[in-house]
């Protein structure tokens, strides 16, 4: 049994894992619990581990209640909702010592009692729901809702908050409000009467979520596209990027219809494949509309040919790569950061692309906007490198806000008047010394017409096979890439703060950020101080080189097997690669903080540190 000291520790600081079968309505029940805790002012992080399947396979949903606001996986499980018979044995094993397991005791299972270091609780959910509801499907759905009710009782989640949430969710279907609340209360009352409520891991009101929202990165990115003024979206459905376009389309249906005619001020085109999706984006961008395509790794593979064209023909183009586990089909519903090298150098020939690395939904929003500005300013593809963890999980982040004074940077596009004033229009001449030429849009004037081509061309846009003429253009593209390094978002430095700079550095990117920041705090507790640089874009700015030069040992934390960020740093900075040490997490689940702590301590040989007892286990 858990002791009192341990129990007190877990007020507003614990993990609940729901083990479900997918397609049984578990997602909405899980979301209900997560949001209710959030509404009680307690920071929370929800992560969904789901199968590539529509119905019938195991799925887990993990809610981390975190008064400190740590959004990464902790690696603990304090309360397991073992609702899936198929995965009972694994779920029992995964509960942290001193934790609790709740299961459907309609069918008592003595095997669950095999562990003596956890407490097993039973609620006959199936029996309760079979008695209270009609219809097989309805009973299955309500079982999960009923379970949420029991969890509310165990965790001391306020029933009134849940009632409000259910009312909001089914505002247009009042019958469902009644049914859902009936199921909630069934579970809630049963638990209150028969179980030791509340558990030591429980929720108490805080005021730590004010000004924040729970939102997924794909929705935030779609909002970014909307506010950036994108009018054309093209895509081929692929997990985990599909919800980005679904959100964009829904937002456009609401906010982009002409108030008078009802006609659409946007076009969403479902392409036949990713080759066509990026082709549509390139064609539209070439013609002066802001266009984008969301996709994932397999889609990027197909887009490679066109990415090279857009790079060489200098056409703006915005792509979102919501990364998932590869290679090939891989594990489509699991997360990784495994497309860095693929995207940085996509396509044949000498190509390098601008990449942005959002760390959370808030950055998905802002970087979506920046991506369009950069693509049009630089006349080149820009790839926003999100991942499944950011894209599909709900993250607590500050409310997204907009400045109505903002206007898009459409880059060097000459108007009809500017063309008229020109002696002659020359498409690829570097007039400003920044490597970025001027372009015109079709329809503007016969004087400004030019021929866009992926074949060899000179700086006037004409076909060439002349060596010198070819080189003038590709060398200017290098100048442009150097300009890009000055325009992209700078890397974020954390530390040293009041303490002297450390000889130890850590570089990471994207969704590793929350785990790294939590790990840094834990490591400080071990007496290990690290300076932390989070790169936010490729090409790297000068600050990345400076950071690498200033530290004798630099850990590079990323979520892929082959150390792709480390490779990029080695290739694209002056760093001595012998001082880079990789910390690689690539099992498909989001990187936990404890993993970073352990690997750093192990690499340092324990010399500087005590054992990692407080870091928590990880799977």
């Amino acid at each position: 049994m858990p002791d009192a000291a341990h129990a007190q520790d877990r007020l507003n600081d614990f993990v609940v894992r729901f083990a479900n079968v997918n397609g049984t309505g578990s997602a909405s029940a899980n979301a209900l619990v997560t949001k209710a805790i959030f509404r009680m002012g307690v920071p929370v992080s929800g992560k969904n581990y789901f199968p590539s399947n529509i119905q019938g396979l195991p799925t887990w949903y993990e809610v981390r209640v975190t008064r400190e606001g740590h959004l990464a996986r902790s690696g603990r499980v304090d309360l397991m909702l073992a609702m899936n018979v198929e995965t009972y044995s694994r779920d029992v094993r995964d509960v942290s010592p001193g934790g609790f397991l709740l299961y459907d005791s309609t069918w008592p299972r003595s095997s669950l009692l095999a562990r003596e270091d956890i407490v097993v609780l039973g609620v006959p959910f199936a029996q309760l729901c079979n008695e209270a509801f009609e219809g097989a499907r309805n009973r299955i759905l309500m079982k999960n809702v009923c379970c949420a009710g029991a969890v509310a009782a165990l965790l001391e989640i306020e029933l009134e908050v849940i009632r409000t949430l259910v009312g909001e969710q089914y505002a247009k279907r009042p019958k469902l409000v009644a049914a859902n609340m009936k199921a909630i209360e069934l579970g809630y009352q049963y638990a209150r009467e028969k179980l030791p409520c509340p558990l030591p891991c429980r929720v108490a009101r805080l005021d730590a979520t004010r000004g924040h929202v729970l939102i997924d990165g794909n929705t935030a990115a779609a909002l970014g596209c909307l506010y950036a003024g994108a009018t054309i979206g093209a895509w081929y459905p692929i997990t985990p990027s599909t919800s980005l376009m679904d959100s964009f389309r829904a937002l456009c249906e609401r906010y982009r219809k002409d108030p008078v005619t009802g006609r659409r001020n946007f076009a969403v085109i479902q392409a036949e494949d990713e080759l066509a999706a990026i082709g549509i984006v390139i064609g539209a961008s070439w013609n002066g509309a802001r266009a984008f395509a969301p996709t994932s790794g397999p889609g990027i593979s197909l887009m490679n040919e066109f990415l090279g064209l857009a790079y060489y023909a200098e056409v703006p183009c915005v792509i979102f790569d919501v990364q998932r586990v590869g290679p090939s089909t891989g594990m489509p519903t699991r997360t990784q950061q495994c497309d860095l090298l693929l995207c940085a150098y996509a396509s044949h020939g000498d190509t390098r692309h601008v990449l942005l690395f959002p760390a959370d939904p808030e950055e998905c929003f802002h970087m979506a906007v920046q991506a369009f500005d950069l693509a049009e300013r630089l006349q080149t593809p820009v790839l926003v490198m999100s991942d499944l963890d950011i894209g599909m999980n709900e993250w607590m982040c500050p409310e997204l806000a907009w400045d109505d004074a903002w206007r898009p940077d459409r880059g060097k596009v000459l108007s009809a008047e500017q063309v008229a004033a020109l002696d002659k229009f020359q498409r690829f001449v570097d007039r400003d010394g920044d490597g970025i030429p001027y372009r015109t849009l079709p329809g503007v004037s016969p004087k400004a017409a030019y021929f866009t081509r992926g074949s060899g061309h000179n700086q006037y846009g004409a076909y060439t096979e002349d060596s010198a003429e070819y080189q003038v253009v590709v060398d200017r593209l290098l100048t442009k890439f150097a300009t890009a390094a000055k325009l992209v978002p700078q890397a974020v430095l954390t530390g040293p703060g009041p303490r002297p700079p450390s000889a130890l550095g850590l570089v990471s990117l994207g969704s590793c950020d929350s785990a790294v920041r939590e790990a840094l705090a834990l490591l400080a507790g071990h007496g290990v101080e690290l300076d932390y640089l989070r790169v936010r874009a490729f090409p790297f700015g000068a600050e990345v080189d400076s950071f690498l030069a200033a530290h004798s040992t630099v850990f590079v934390v990323e979520q892929n097997r082959d150390a792709q960020l480390k490779s990029l740093l080695t290739l694209e900075t002056r760093v001595d690669k012998s001082k880079l040490h990789s910390i690689l997490h690539y099992d498909g689940l989001p990187i936990p903080a404890g993993f970073v702590v352990e690997r750093v301590l192990a690499a340092l040989g324990g010399a500087a540190a005590r054992p990692a007892a407080a870091t928590g286990a990880h799977r």
């Binding site: 929705t219 076009a267 070439w286 013609n287 066109f306 004037s445 021929f451």
Partner: protein, 352 residues
């Protein structure tokens, strides 16, 4: 090799169209195709059609993929923006460009390799999307730029320059387009300018996807080995390096036939193409009848030419289906696109 600038001398007596322009104003760079190439005749027909339609050059957008045919977009209407994209992917570029600005005229030039092999999927889906554009396939049954492989439009039993006999059934772009619901389907012959020019004009004016399959012979690579009427003798002497300069200037193929009669045309490669003019009673608005008619004649080795099918009354092009606003999307001011800060604050309410 760099592109050749064509001298631009307009004689004062050249006729001007309603836009005040002469035919010379619709020309482009000098063609680098083989002398006598059928594609150059198609280029000339496009020039004639654009002049005849009184288009201002900047109203036209030229799109192409890769191949001999796709090079030709550089050879007409130099005052129009052009996009020579990648192999088989022009339809997606055209779809995006058209989505961004619905007011311009889009002309895509492709070939049988570009459209029926590597780009078959994109062609099919541009037809399904009913993109408002004219799509020309300059169809010669052969890969010219890679020197003579069969294309997907080569007929069973036709012989390659090196003697290989094609065994695979052809894909006929006309039957394909009819199957996929294209609303303007035509076939013509590069040597028949009198038929082709009005078809191009009609295709550009058609609202929706207009496909014209233009039989356009390859003078260099689609030739029987050992044919007495071919350039076999010439090729035996210049086989190692077949360059455009080595091909003697051919007389342009031309054909002229009365309505309702089938005609044999001898191509440069000595093979026969039977051309059958549509009879006066033919109803091009009946898709099923058109399909049966074309398929029946194909089985007899005859190519039906002319405006095979047109459906302009019921045609709903991409923007009709999408219910896009009349103002081109690329011209909508940002103020009309941003929902504003207050709306975002309201949206955030859903996520609290």
């Amino acid at each position: 090799m760099t592109s050749i600038t064509k001298p631009r001398v307009a004689h004062p007596s050249l006729p001007r169209n309603a836009a005040g322009l002469t035919r010379r104003d619709y020309e482009g760079a000098m063609s680098t195709l083989c002398a006598g190439c059928g594609h150059d005749s198609v280029t000339a027909a496009i020039v004639e059609a654009c002049w005849g339609l009184d288009l201002r050059p900047e109203q036209l957008v030229k799109l192409s993929g890769i191949g001999c045919s796709s090079k030709t977009t550089a050879y007409f209407v130099g005052g129009a923006h052009g996009f020579n994209s990648v192999h088989g992917r022009m339809p997606s570029i055209a779809s995006g460009a058209n989505a961004a600005n619905r007011e311009l005229y889009y002309i895509g030039v492709s070939g049988d390799g570009d459209s029926l092999s590597i780009g078959l999927g994109q062609l099919a889906h541009a037809i399904r999307r009913n993109v408002n554009m004219l799509y020309l396939i300059e169809n010669n049954g052969v890969y010219g730029l890679t020197k003579g492989q069969f294309s997907a439009s080569a007929d069973v039993g036709s012989t390659a320059r090196k003697g290989d006999i094609n065994q695979q059934p052809p894909i006929d772009p006309v039957l394909l387009a009819l199957t996929l619901g294209a609303t303007f389907v035509a076939r013509s012959f590069s040597g028949d300018k009198r038929q082709l020019v009005p078809l191009i004009e009609a295709g550009l004016r058609h609202r929706g996807f207009a496909l014209i399959d233009v039989l356009s012979p390859c003078v260099t690579f689609n030739d029987h080995e050992g044919s007495t009427k071919s350039y076999a003798f010439t090729r035996e002497h210049y086989h190692a390096a077949v360059e455009a300069d080595f091909v003697a200037r051919h007389k342009e193929i031309s054909v002229d036939y009365a309505e309702g009669t089938a005609t044999s045309v001898q191509l440069h490669d000595d093979s026969q193409v039977r051309l059958r003019k549509l009879d006066a009673s033919y109803d091009p608005t009946d898709r099923d009848a058109a399909y049966s008619y074309v398929a029946g004649k194909l089985a007899q080795g005859e190519h039906v030419t002319g405006l095979i099918h047109v459906d302009s009354s019921a045609a709903r092009e991409f923007h009709d289906i999408n219910e896009t606003t009349e103002v081109p999307l690329n011209r909508l001011p940002y103020e009309q696109l941003s929902p504003g800060a207050a709306a975002l604050a309201k949206i955030m309410g859903r996520y609290r």
